[in-house]
């Protein structure tokens, strides 16, 4: 089977839909962007904690959705003196 090739525009459209879904369902994400799944582009959704709801999408318009728990993000200056 030939691998599906997802364009950047398709990934952007799917990302925007993912943002709308997360907002309307009040699901918590710390970032939503465009990543990879294998050789294909994918929607990447970062979570602070592992709390994936069964209703969270695994694919949007044929674009895979990947989730990653990334914890807390902090500004990268050296700590206070």
């Amino acid at each position: 089977m030939q691998r599906m090739s997802i364009t950047m525009d398709q990934a952007r459209t799917a990302k925007d839909k993912a943002k709308s879904l997360f907002k309307s369902h009040h699901w918590s994400a710390t970032a939503i962007g465009i990543g990879r799944k294998g050789d294909d582009l994918a929607v990447k959704i970062n979570l602070e904690k592992p709390r994936i709801d069964d209703d969270m999408p695994r694919e949007i318009n044929g674009v895979p959705v990947v989730y990653e728990v990334v914890g807390t993000i902090v500004a990268r200056a050296r700590g206070r003196i």
Binding site: A29, A31, G33, G71, V74, A75, R76, A77, R78
Partner: protein, 330 residues
């Protein structure tokens, strides 16, 4: 001597000659140490190290390294050691030994990409690049939270190299003054960026990416997931990574003033078993495989990434350059 013989000799001299004599000298205060507990004094002030040095092929001798003149002159210690070792000892006075900070955390002239730099009230971040500002003057690029103290600084404030955390002192280590920063907001930020005008008497090398090569300007094309990138930063030096996501929106980052969110960000994981960045690398320029600038490092975490060492976040360099009116040196 054989290795095993030198090892036995080292143990014998340490227990029978060095320890009794050093304790006797400490009690007599002949090393001039300040009043402190004996436990601490013994731990910190012994001043002599024994080891094993090579004397020739398959031939070894005792290595004696002396840090205090009082031990090598007039105490009789060296004479006793030489006698016990039948003259087969390599004795050297080495003086005090200090922890060696890496070049990127030290004072550096000319200033280099990757050096420690910061506003005089901020601990330390990284000098990302040396570019031309709106008026054509030479500026150093880093983050707002490094050069502008999260909007608490004023234009004209002193910038130090190295940053305060690395021993920088105002005015001795002043290399420039804050000239412009992009204000941080609660949401919809694109960049955490600021520039400082470099003093006319401060030399810089705007092209050298130490350990990577020569900076080749700015990339004309945006990075894609899967692209290989590198950086040189104040804390972790040269690291290599892979872009794991682009055009990330609503990236929530914790600052001293609270959480702020950013759009259109780049996410990177370190290659191998290392993280791509750590605290103090803020402001690092991220370059692609062609050594062209693509991003400005500003945040990170310690979870995630395929090696589990955390992820790093960077502003798209196009936004940084556009908002601050910067041009790369020709």
């Amino acid at each position: 001597m054989r290795m095993s013989s030198v090892r036995a000799l080292k143990e014998e001299i340490a227990s029978q000659i060095v320890e009794p004599l050093v304790e006797r000298e400490l009690s007599a205060r002949s090393f001039g140490i300040e009043a402190t507990s004996m436990r601490r004094a013994r731990a910190a002030s012994r001043g002599i190290a024994l080891g094993i040095a090579r004397a020739g092929t398959d031939d070894y001798q005792l290595a004696v390294r002396v840090q205090r003149r009082a031990l090598s002159e007039g105490s009789g210690l060296i004479e006793q050691i030489m006698q016990r070792a039948s003259g087969e000892a390599d004795v050297r006075y080495v003086g005090q030994i200090f922890k060696q900070a890496p070049w990127h955390q030290s004072r550096q002239r000319p200033m280099l990409i990757g050096n420690s730099v910061a506003h005089f009230r901020v601990t330390a971040g990284t000098a990302g690049a040396f570019l031309r500002g709106r008026d054509g003057s030479l500026v150093v690029l880093s983050n707002n939270h490094v050069l502008a103290h999260e909007d608490k600084a004023a234009v004209g404030d002193a910038i130090l190299q190295p940053g305060r955390y690395d021993g920088g002192i105002d005015p001795a280590d002043r290399v420039g003054t804050l000239s412009e920063s992009i204000r941080l907001r609660r949401s919809d930020n694109l960049v955490d960026a600021a520039v400082a005008t470099v003093g006319k008497n401060i030399s810089v090398d705007p092209f050298l990416l130490t350990g990577i090569g020569t900076l080749a300007g700015r990339s004309a094309t945006p990075v894609q997931p899967g692209d290989r990138v590198s950086k040189v930063g104040r804390t972790t030096g040269v690291t290599h990574g892979i872009v794991t996501a682009v055009e990330l929106d609503d990236v929530v980052v914790n600052y001293d003033r609270g959480p702020l969110s950013f759009n259109q960000q780049i996410e990177i994981e370190g290659t191998g078993s290392s993280a791509f960045s750590a605290g103090g690398d803020s402001g690092s320029l991220i370059v692609n495989a062609a050594r062209q600038g693509v991003g400005l490092l500003f945040a990170g975490g310690d979870q995630g990434g395929s090696n589990g060492k955390g992820l790093t976040y960077a502003n798209d360099l196009d936004h940084v350059v556009g908002l601050l009116g910067l041009t790369f040196p020709a």
